[in-house]
Symmetry: C2
Subunit: 117 residues, 2 copies
């Protein structure tokens, strides 16, 4: 099973999704993220989906779930690098990603978390 690494920089965790996520790796990512949030006291999670070209309801739900988990640890989630086609699919699927904010890129996402955007 492939594992998505979580990078911690300052008070923010960075997750860059590049692999095709299967059920097992999604569960692992959510578990790893919860542990990192609990262990580090991070205040923000930036999820980069630049490499994600296709989404389905499974991925959409995963993103929403990550947002919910983060909130339980008092952390905000920002989704960055969304491709236009992905945005259209998420809308068509009716996934509003409540509780997850978005930004154009990692830099703007970080600014959003730091309250300067």
């Amino acid at each position: 099973m492939e594992r998505v690494p979580i990078l911690k920089i300052g008070k923010t965790l960075f997750v860059s999704i590049q692999i095709d996520l299967q059920d097992e790796s999604v569960m692992q990512l959510q578990e790893d993220l919860a542990e990192e949030l609990a262990g580090t006291g991070a205040h923000g999670v930036i999820i980069d989906i630049t490499a994600v070209e296709i989404v389905d309801s499974f991925i959409g739900r995963m993103l929403a779930t990550i947002g919910s988990i983060s909130r339980l640890f008092d952390a905000e989630t920002v989704l960055v690098g969304m491709r236009p086609a992905v945005a259209i699919t998420l809308t068509e699927l009716g996934l509003s990603l409540r509780g997850v904010r978005t930004a154009l890129n990692a830099e703007k996402g970080l600014a959003l978390l730091n309250g300067s955007a």
Copy 2:
């Protein structure tokens, strides 16, 4: 072909290697990185290899090449998240990764680039 995304945060580019790199994606990554360095004027490149479990001379050379490319753009390269087995293999292969610095994790790598470590 899968593409490795490059995240820019401040003056630093972050590259997280998660996919099995083939010749083509390595060429693409080097090209993307050169373009980002030229376009953004970034001073540092952090390459996260937490997800890399096995290295061979091909990957080793790629890391050294990225270091050399970055230097041409006046940027320093820091390799972070190396697994013990990977370190042993790189040593056994006789790859010294000249010009590439290492740090335990992304946070320490960033501190290294910012001169505070």
